[in-house]
Amino acid sequence: MSYIDAKAAPRREDRLGTCIEFGGLIGDIAKPFCEGCLKNRSRAFSQGTICQLLPALAILTSLQETVVIAHGAIGCGGAVHSLGSSVRLGQWRSGDKNPKGALWLSTNLNEQDVTSGGEVKLREAILEADRRYRPDAIIILSTCVPGIIGDDIDSVTNDVKDQISAALLPVHCEGFKTKVMATAYDAIFHSFLRNVVDGRDETDFGVYDNEAAVAAEAIRRKRLVNLMNVSSMTGPDQNELTRLLNKLGLEVNMLPCDAHPDAFRKAPFAALSIGVCPTHDDYFMSYLEEKFGVPFVGGQMPIGIENTGTWLRQVAAKLGLQETAERIIESESAELNRALEPILPSLKGRTAMLSAGEMRTLATAVLLQELGMEILAVRPYHYDEFGAVEVEKLSGINPSIRLNVATAQPFEAVNMINRAKPDLYIGHNSDNVWAAKCGVSVLPIYGTNSIYSGYAGAYDIARRIRRHLANTSFNDKLSRNVRQPYRKNWYSEDPFKYIKGGELSA
């Protein structure tokens, strides 16, 4: 991958042609996407949303023994006050009974710094962070202000790296650089690959003091896999996927979320990298393959019954474990189906709309179809080739599903809800309230320390949906007593009327 020599990873728009503006039928996106017509679109009306800094913060503040420095104005990073609750939970899970929560600093760039530059302040922050907290790694996130005033975070980190003991990771995630927040994943992995994943093999350095130990380690590595978790995965999600991989006889090296930086150092020595979300980790896994020969599987999210099976089969095929995988899938599916039987009648024929990250939205929609529900609309936060697989599955069953590609943009959502009147909305944190105000029942699409992945996730999602449909009073009454901010005529207009452009780029 030639990208790695550059200081920053490329934008998803450029690397994958990713788009965030589309409205229409689900079958209608493939053609304009392939022709590149969706790349240069924009909205004449838009609402504040998520930039690449936020997923970067969510992942990086969860790392163990790591300090994150948000190099910018005092507000960039504030999101950690809510993101940090899952970090705290992660620390609790790994045995800390008085968890500190996410540790992050802001360089608090002020008017004076905007004029005279923020590099000195950043340098001092790095040096003091090393002294104060003695972390394994210090991550420097560049935000919009340093991006515009021209602070060179790479040269600052280069200058100080010999004075401190922590590994230094500059991450370029200036919000204005890309409109695809998923670029954050590439930005993070880019820095880890350049600064931490060095391929140094412990067995070459006398860590194992005899030949037998070295040989044992070599055997262990044949069953060691990198499991690429995502920040929207909860502890129970991680346990479920680990459970399934353990059943295949595999040992899991989990990263990036909640991991120690050592998990990255170990990654080149695994037998396989396993993605759980193609939009999340292709950048990292394909580099590991190219540079260290670690093969990977990554086309499938293990959310949904068939999807989980496909995911397991893909893993098994790479390691010659097909027969074991089939046995696992058979017994797991049978057990799940037995458990689902009494729940499914409550879900049958009920309608749903979903909104969140690309793969999450589409894979969860596929699961709901398996559970007997009818999908009215899906709203992935962005769209690119990774989503095409799930879009095909969905449109195969029902080509009249509406597809709206939008990073939140609740004004489009409420217009669609008003037309479609779904029974259930499954959406991203901060997105759900607008559906709630329409009187629709809501299941959050990730988080809340619940389980969504694998077979256990399929079961839990089903029973939670049944719970939400069993009492809709809260949102019913809410919708009758509060109003949305849009003028009345909005609901009779095309929900996508503000999307413009899209001609082939010159």
């Binding site: 504040g48 800094l53 005092i74 990073g77 006050h81 608090n108 901060s430």
Partner: protein, 447 residues
């Protein structure tokens, strides 16, 4: 304060403060002129730091935003802003639109004011404010928005209404209990016959704010926040202002009321009878908790961590009314050296004469170090004079510290991520009863 990094900042940026202030105002629609992530950053901060204050009518991810991109930064973003402002007015229903800028337009120098004048000339109810995040914290954003209202929205009036005031200094979001606090103070002032424009409560309206130019006084229930807005009301409308520390509890609230009454020349007997009645009422409740307070020894050593409103207010209340020992008071919001005497005065004037170490510090890790400077560590001696029974009244960032030192903990000051706040307020006589409930419930919860 030294110009350096901040660990886990307890505030929003100026744009964040401005956005939450605007969405707390009745019928006001914010239009952010910012990059796409500002809205999400601010909302997720709000989510985790203000007692789960939701988006409201048009906040959160519904807040209109120009979401400018690199090309707008290179070529200027005003064209995109104009498109966004026009589409917002066409789509979103509101009484007043406020354009507020993020860091990037402020750095590249986008001229929002020419656009505002152009739209005003076409009949739009719109004003603008430069609130780039690097201009300061959330408190600064509050002051900028209210100043912009005073300057660009409030109608100039020739005459003053003698008993009409504007109430400033309680900052939505930065104070998780802003609604409750404002309602408690406006109701107390109302009982002195004062008409109050408090901007943000269910009793306020956009028309009321527009007509606030005939107030005869701005009351700043803070000596730090809202002062700049009060000055703007003074320079734009000739309304004088009076600062008084944020009042929690009978002792502080009496001082507050007497100060306001003196400014407004309200007869002394009116104040006497209000204070009398409120004090009696306060003790009607306190009398019934006195049994447990004394039987179960509910007096505590305390560390108070809060902004320049809360730290002195809670310190005074627990020292002078609740009878606790506030050993250390940590002020987390920036206080210039010239303003330190204001904080020190509250401590020096404590009726209880409790000695309090005052510390100016925001970083949670450093606060722990300050604590150990003043409080002896546990040793292996048989008899030890340690910080016990202890209580830390602070933000959710002090949980770990409290647990480390074996103290109880209640989150009151920002960030408030482990409590849900609706109409609770701690200001005044009545509010302090809620604070007693919350503090003592932490202790009682363990029984």
């Amino acid at each position: 304060m030294k110009n350096k990094f901040v660990e886990r900042p307890r505030t929003f940026c100026a744009l964040g403060g401005a956005l939450i202030t605007a969405t707390a105002l009745p019928d006001v629609i914010p239009i952010m002129h910012a990059v796409m992530g500002c809205g999400g950053s601010i909302y997720w901060n709000q989510y985790g730091s203000t007692g789960y204050l939701g988006a409201g009518y048009c906040g959160g991810l519904a807040a209109p935003s120009s979401n400018i991109q690199e090309k707008d930064i290179v070529f200027g973003g005003v064209e995109r802003l104009e498109e966004q402002a026009r589409s917002t007015i066409g789509l979103v229903e509101g009484g007043l639109y406020i354009i507020m800028t993020g860091c990037t337009p402020d750095i590249i120098g986008d001229d929002i004011h020419s656009l505002v004048r152009k739209l005003q000339a076409e009949g739009a109810n719109i004003i603008g404010a430069e609130t780039g995040g690097f201009r300061g914290d959330g408190y600064v954003g509050y002051d900028i928005v209210l100043s912009a209202l005073a300057k660009g929205f409030v109608t100039p009036k020739g005459r003053r209404k003698t008993k009409k005031v504007n109430l400033l200094g309680i900052v939505p979001g930065q104070d998780a209990f802003w609604r409750g606090n404002l309602i408690k103070l406006r109701s107390l002032l109302g009982r002195l016959g004062i008409e109050v424009n408090s901007f943000f409560t269910e009793y306020d309206s956009l028309d009321g704010i527009k007509g606030s130019g005939d107030a005869s006084l701005s009351i700043v229930a803070s000596e730090f926040f809202g002062v700049k807005a009060a000055r703007e009301f003074e320079s734009a409308h000739g309304i004088p202002y009076c600062e008084s520390p944020f009042p929690i509890g009978p002792a502080a609230t009496e001082i507050f009321l007497r100060k306001i009454a003196a400014e407004l020349k309200i007869p002394r007997r009116l104040v006497d009878s209000l204070v009398d009645e409120e004090t009696k009422n306060y003790f009607r409740y306190v009398e019934r908790i006195a049994d447990a307070y004394n039987d179960l020894d509910w007096q505590r050593h305390a560390v108070v961590v809060g902004d320049a409103n809360y730290a002195p207010a809670i310190t005074k209340f627990i020292a002078d009314d609740l009878g606790w020992l506030p050993e250390i008071m940590v002020v987390t919001s920036p206080v210039g050296e010239e303003d330190e005497p204001k904080i020190n005065r509250v401590v020096e004037d404590l009726e209880s004469r409790c000695p309090v170490h005052v510390v100016y510090e925001s970083d949670p890790t450093e606060i722990k170090k300050h604590f150990w400077k003043y409080i002896p560590r546990r040793t292996d001696a048989l008899h030890q004079d340690i910080f016990s029974p202890g209580f830390v009244i602070g933000s959710h960032l002090e949980r770990e510290f409290a647990s480390d030192i074996g103290a109880d903990h209640l989150t009151v000051s920002s960030p408030v991520g482990n409590r849900v706040v609706l109409n609770r307020g701690y200001a005044g006589f009545d509010g302090s009863l809620s604070l007693i409930e919350d503090l003592l419930s932490v202790i009682a919860f363990q029984r």
